[in-house]
């Protein structure tokens, strides 16, 4: 445990996976690359990769607060620390033996309600496990037995907030985010004391009234009710001491006529000082969004080379279909390109931000738009492989028609929606230096519903779920499928890998089940 604590507090240099025996946080390390240096499982022996264990979550018979059935889909990325794997669904945490898949303990939060759409996992620091619940609570558990240590409220259920994101540990901060877009409420991110849960700071996803950025809203009232939820975990650069995350859609979601302007800081990639919550910079992938294209996708951090110069980079494949490479010290744009073809932007502005085409905003009689509301990518994690220099995104080209239902001067809530349509799924390998697609693997069959994150490894493998219930290993250089396992349903989370007792495991979630694969020596 001491070694893990050192990792979390000192963090690692980029390009290094310092804890191959663990997957200590949502993205494995603070960079968000989802790249592992493990290579026991590799291209030469992938055919022998076999099932080591299966674990199916069983939440019991307690009804879900607020009605409906318990959502048992595993959408979180498991965290592995000291041989124990932690996995979640809303209101439930399980500790599982990472070697055998046997349950160690199960914790149930007595929920008051909230959207039970999914939970993205836990954070672990020393002997405490942290999880957010749909009814707006941050709960701290004893990692030994799952007993509650404390809990604290992180949002207001009465205002239709809920919580789903995996907390992130940065130094002595537990970073939490919030969700909710039924009503017009502001998004924010918080930092809590890891020992007591006390609030250290809160940063709202809107400017201070009176600042130049506040002029991107027609009024203070619109700005203070402008959305910008923070529902995908952050990444962190220890050298720059900057925390990076994305913000979600502005409110009202579809009917944007009451919030003319670019609507900062919704739909932004944000860099904050994690000790103070002070803004360092922002970049806005979707100015004045009216399509629900939350820009929350993982901001992936890596060091690379641009025009022969070493650079500290941040890249995001955004839900709106655009790929961005930024200087992560300054937020200055280096590259903007489409990673799937879209039809909603007129080009990019001087900052590298796409310019929305007014003709493709929702209309009373409909506007045909690609991507659709689900996006060219959604929350499932991408991966960056420093060996290939490629950024991988499990993407979709999807169409729908966006309708405006409420043309009042002051719409509220959503005021419209999309309907339709057609979708095809593909795995895109993006060259970060050019933005060009190095290879594209179109998934055959049903094109909708790819909700698998990605994992790349030093074993020259790229792991992904396809839309046909397969867990697939591909060649990261060519995109050729090399191995697969047919699961009972499609992958629903991000795969992870770790090594224990000299055995490398790869674990993936599909529906209510975790599958543990390993290379078993005889």
């Amino acid at each position: 445990m001491r070694r893990l604590a050192v990792f979390l507090f000192a963090a690692s240099a980029f390009g290094q996976t310092t804890f191959p025996e663990a997957w200590p946080s949502y993205n494995g390390d603070t960079s968000g690359r989802r790249y592992s240096t493990l290579s026991q499982i590799n291209q030469s022996n992938i055919d022998a990769l076999s099932l080591a264990w299966v674990y199916r979550v069983n939440p019991g018979r307690a009804p879900q607060a607020g009605g409906g059935n318990v959502n048992t889909t595993i959408k979180g990325t498991p965290v592995v620390v000291n041989g124990v794997l932690y996995t979640t669904i809303p209101d439930h945490v399980w500790a599982i033996d990472a070697r055998t898949g046997r349950e160690i303990w199960h914790y149930v939060w007595p929920s008051k309600g909230g959207w039970h759409i999914g939970n993205r996992g836990v954070a672990v620091l020393r002997e405490t496990v942290y999880v957010e619940t749909p009814d707006c609570t941050l709960v701290a558990l004893d990692s030994k037995n799952g007993k509650e240590k404390w809990h604290t409220q992180i949002c207001d259920l009465e205002q239709f907030y809920y919580a789903s994101v995996a907390p992130i540990i940065v130094k002595n901060h537990v970073i939490t985010g919030v969700s909710g877009d039924d009503l017009d409420i502001p998004g924010y991110i918080e930092s809590h004391d890891p020992d007591t849960g006390a609030l250290q700071w809160r940063w709202y996803a809107h400017p201070e009234p009176g600042t130049p950025e506040a002029k991107t809203w027609p009024s203070v009232d619109a700005m203070l009710h402008g959305g910008g939820m923070t529902w995908v975990p952050s990444t962190y650069d220890p050298d720059l001491n900057l925390l990076y995350f994305g913000t979600g859609n502005p409110q009202p979601v579809i009917a944007g006529q009451g919030r003319e302007g670019s609507n900062l800081y919704t739909e932004c990639i944000i860099a904050l000082n994690p000790d103070t919550g002070k803004l360092a910079w922002y970049f806005q992938p979707s100015p004045h969004d009216t399509h629900d294209w939350d820009a929350v996708q993982t901001p992936v951090l890596f060091d690379g080379e641009i025009n022969g110069q070493p650079r500290k980079l941040l890249a995001q494949a955004s839900r709106n279909g655009w790929f961005f490479v930024l200087d992560r010290a300054t937020g200055k744009n280096i590259l903007s390109s489409e990673f799937v073809k879209t039809n909603w932007a007129l080009g990019v502005d001087a900052k590298g931000q796409p310019i929305p085409n007014p003709a493709k905003q929702p209309k009373l009689d409909g506007a045909l738009v690609t991507p659709n509301q689900g996006g060219a990518i959604n929350w499932p994690s991408p991966s960056f492989n420093p060996e290939t220099g490629l950024f991988y995104a499990n993407a979709a080209r999807a169409w729908s028609v966006y309708y405006l239902y409420d043309n009042d001067d002051k719409p509220e809530g959503w005021g419209g929606n999309d309907r339709g349509g057609f979708s095809e799924a593909m795995l895109q390998a993006i060259d970060y230096k050019t933005g060009k697609i190095r290879w594209s693997h179109k998934w055959p069959g049903n094109g909708s519903g790819v909700r698998s994150g990605l994992l790349s490894t030093a074993g020259k493998l790229l792991f992904a779920g396809d839309p046909s219930s397969n867990f697939v290993a591909l060649d990261p250089v060519t995109g050729e499928p090399l191995w697969h396992a047919a699961l009972h349903t499609s992958v629903t989370n991000g795969p992870i890998t770790y090594e224990l007792d000299g055995v490398q495991y790869v674990v993936v979630g599909a529906g209510d089940t975790l599958y543990g694969f390993a290379m078993r020596a005889h």
């Binding site: 008051k112 959207w115 979601v253 009689d365 409909g366 509220e412 929606n417 057609f422």
Partner: protein
């Protein structure tokens, strides 16, 4: 035992909450009584509408009540009642029953806002030009290559509402299965209706009704004929004006 007790408690709590506040939805909120909401609306119209607006979204004279944390946190008047008595220029002498009715009206407005991603009325999509739609159908749209207003599309304007015509023209539902021909290495082609395909296998139902699966590798040839392929490709070609014109034309095919 502790878990069992907790489970029993939740069952009891759930039962109580269903009774008191309604069972569905993401949070146990105050269930709107339509009759009480109607009475509350009359009170609202009489005493509140001038400042808070017709749909409670506020005016220059009074704040938005749908976005009001006080209203959102209220249960059957426990917040609104004291606030009415405390705030200047408010109706302080409403009875408890009247305050409750008022909360039902306001909660109804809140719930309607929270659900307004669903259309109350179908959008009017008949904004295009009929003749331009006919020309596109027979020309650049290539629709007449496969479809005919006197054949498969006869009476289509009677069969579907305009909004559904728009969706079905853009994203037609599959009426015929995808056809596939699989040619194994050194083998004879096998044709049939595609049942399932991924990178590793392809399954079809052949003309005799047999379900057959073939493992895929580089030596197995798979040819797919999707009747909707042209429709999907055309999505890149349609302008919104084309879309509206074609819908107007299709709607005329009574």
């Amino acid at each position: 035992m502790r878990r069992l007790v907790k489970g029993v408690f939740l069952l009891v709590l759930g039962s109580f909450c269903q009774h008191a506040f309604g069972q569905a939805g993401p949070y146990v909120r105050q269930e709107v009584d339509p009759a009480a909401a109607d009475r509350g609306k009359r009170l609202y119209t009489q005493f509140c509408i001038n400042c808070h607006g017709a749909s409670a979204k506020g005016t220059e004279q009074g704040p938005d009540l749908i976005r009001s944390p006080l209203v959102l946190r209220d249960r059957l008047g426990d917040q609104i009642g004291p606030a009415l008595k405390k705030l200047a220029n408010h109706k302080a002498d409403l009875t408890k029953a009247q305050v409750t009715d008022l909360t039902h009206f306001l909660k109804d407005q809140v719930e309607a806002t929270a659900k307004n991603r669903n259309a109350e009325h179908p959008p009017n999509v008949l904004t295009g030009n009929l003749e331009a739609g006919r020309a596109y159908f027979n020309g650049a749209g290539k629709c007449s290559t496969c479809h005919s207003p006197s054949g498969d599309l006869a009476g289509i304007g009677r069969k579907y509402a305009a909004i559904d015509l728009q969706q079905r023209f853009l994203f037609p539902r599959r009426s015929k299965p995808i056809q596939v021909t699989v040619t194994p290495s050194g083998g004879q082609p096998v044709a049939g209706s595609l049942e399932r395909i991924d990178d590793f296998s392809v399954s079809l139902r052949d003309s005799s009704g047999d379900y057959r699966t073939f493992s895929r590798d580089k030596n197995v040839k798979v040819d797919i004929n999707d009747p909707l392929a042209t429709h999907n490709q055309m999505l890149d070609a349609y302008t919104d004006q084309d879309m509206h014109n074609v819908v107007r034309y299709l709607e005329s095919l009574k």
